[in-house]
């Protein structure tokens, strides 16, 4: 490489300062702005920029809205300007910008001249990167939704094919054969066919309830839970103790559906993985929140690094459902100490429904 003179290097640096797409600020030890490059000027609101140029404002705080710490998305605790010991070689900062509102930047802040205490603060716009990430996330979500949909269809299709169609075919065969039977044999065959048809009705009813329990729409959460838990007990031999403090209260449609589905998933998870013979479910209202606890005293798991036994989508789906209705979902579990799923959903009183009832 050719040795370049100091002058040439100076010229390079000035060009970089002027033409860089990164915003560059030079600051003194007190965090006062000494200089800023054209990219930096582009970011800042014109009125603030004017004040900075006139010297009436000299602090970053006039447009900085905090950085992302371990605890908070936008924090001013342990500000990077006032914490020389901290490592701020790469962090995320939120700035109030011209036209775009408060947006995140990738920032770095470090001393470049210890003698005169000069610091440099550099920023790179993260909007594009965030958008890419968001798209990626959205695409993954769509993919998972489609997969889950297909899986559910497969389950229903199999159920229809294996139980409903088979039983119908066997009934048909029974009917055909019965033409050639003697009277006493015929009577027995008819009672058997009756049994098959009864079972078939039960199967179709189960499929329909599993898809969408009518009792949820007609009678509300508590009734739907009771029916479902009775089914769980019969199918899996596991008792679900329901303690409900909401009696026949009705809630918004989407809230009832989400709470029902989340509870269903939590209970099924306990059935599948906890290795228990009882599950406790508690549902109540407190402080304008609908609260649900699903607790088992089974195997439990490490919440930090769970071993995925199923699709790994269950908990993810529960959290998504909770967020969609403005609620929050918490999972408490420890190896050998059981699992508790806690859901809290804000509820508003519905004047219209109150009048109706």
């Amino acid at each position: 490489m050719i040795q370049i003179t100091n002058e040439k290097m100076m010229a390079f640096l000035i060009k970089m300062y002027e033409n860089s797409s990164e915003a560059i600020f030079f600051l003194d030890g007190e965090g006062e702005i000494l200089a800023l490059n054209p990219s930096a000027e582009q970011i800042i609101n014109p009125s603030v920029l004017e004040a900075i140029q006139q010297g009436t404002i000299s602090s970053l705080c006039s447009f900085c809205r905090g950085y992302t710490s371990d605890e908070e998305l936008m924090s001013c605790t342990n500000c990077y300007l006032k914490n020389p010991e901290g490592d701020f070689s790469s962090f995320q900062v939120y700035l109030e910008t011209r036209n775009k509102g408060v947006i995140p930047y990738a920032a770095s802040y470090y001393q470049i001249d210890p003698e005169q205490e000069i610091f440099v603060f550099m920023l790179r716009d993260l909007t594009l990167q965030f958008k890419t990430q968001e798209n990626l996330y959205k695409n993954q979500m769509v993919k998972q939704t489609i997969e889950a949909q297909e899986l559910e269809r497969k389950r229903i299709s199999r159920e229809l094919h294996d139980s409903v169609v088979q039983d119908l075919v066997s009934t048909l065969v029974d009917l055909r054969v019965s033409k050639y039977l003697k009277e006493d044999e015929l009577r027995e065959r008819i009672s058997e066919t009756e049994g098959t048809l009864n079972r078939l009705i039960e199967d179709v009813r189960n499929i329909s309830v599993f898809l969408r329990p009518a009792s949820l729409d007609d009678l509300g959460l508590e009734a739907a839970f009771r029916t479902h838990f009775k089914w769980i007990e019969k199918t899996y031999g596991i008792r679900v103790n329901l303690k409900s403090m909401i009696s026949q209260m009705r809630y918004r449609h989407d809230i009832e559906t989400a709470v029902y589905r989340i509870c269903q998933e939590a209970v099924l998870n306990a059935v599948k993985y906890a290795g228990i013979s009882e599950i406790d479910v508690y549902i109540a209202e407190s402080n304008r929140h609908l609260e649900l606890f699903v607790r088992d005293e089974g195997e439990g798991f490490n919440t930090e690094s769970p071993t995925i036994k199923g699709t790994g989508l269950g908990v993810f789906g529960m959290t998504e459902r909770a967020e969609l209705i403005g609620g929050k979902l918490r999972l408490y579990s420890e190896q050998g100490k059981g699992t508790t799923v806690y859901l809290s959903v804000p509820i508003q009183l519905q004047p219209k429904e109150r009048v109706e009832t």
Partner: protein, 150 residues
Amino acid sequence: MEHFHYESFLEQLRNEFELDVAALAVCLPEENHAIRWKYISGNISENYRRIVLYSGKGTAGLVVKTGKARIIENVKEYYSAGNLYEHPILVSEKIESFAAIPFFKNQRVCAVLLVGSRTAGKMNQVLFQEIFSHLPEKVGSYDTGELIGN
């Protein structure tokens, strides 16, 4: 025949072949042909009392539907963690290998005998054949040995 003691039959079977669990599931025409575990020996849980199966559902339901014996030598290998819960008797009794054998009445499957071990590999084809040939022609009111297609 009315007073056949199923429990002692199951216990004898269990002891003779050094198995952990023996149970009999029975079809109940009066309950919409539901299938329940009515007699059991060697159980560690009472969950079996609550289980109500239908043809095609659960271990007993599958045998009722197919009319064929089912021999699983290693439950954990055969069923994934996400499928095992569909066979609650295996979960609650911690069964690791088993055979489920159909019992008949008028050529229809009316009961299912489950003989299982909490050790994988304990139940296998050889032991199954041994137990199967050991079974009397009639167990209580049920006929044994009419294995379709076997």
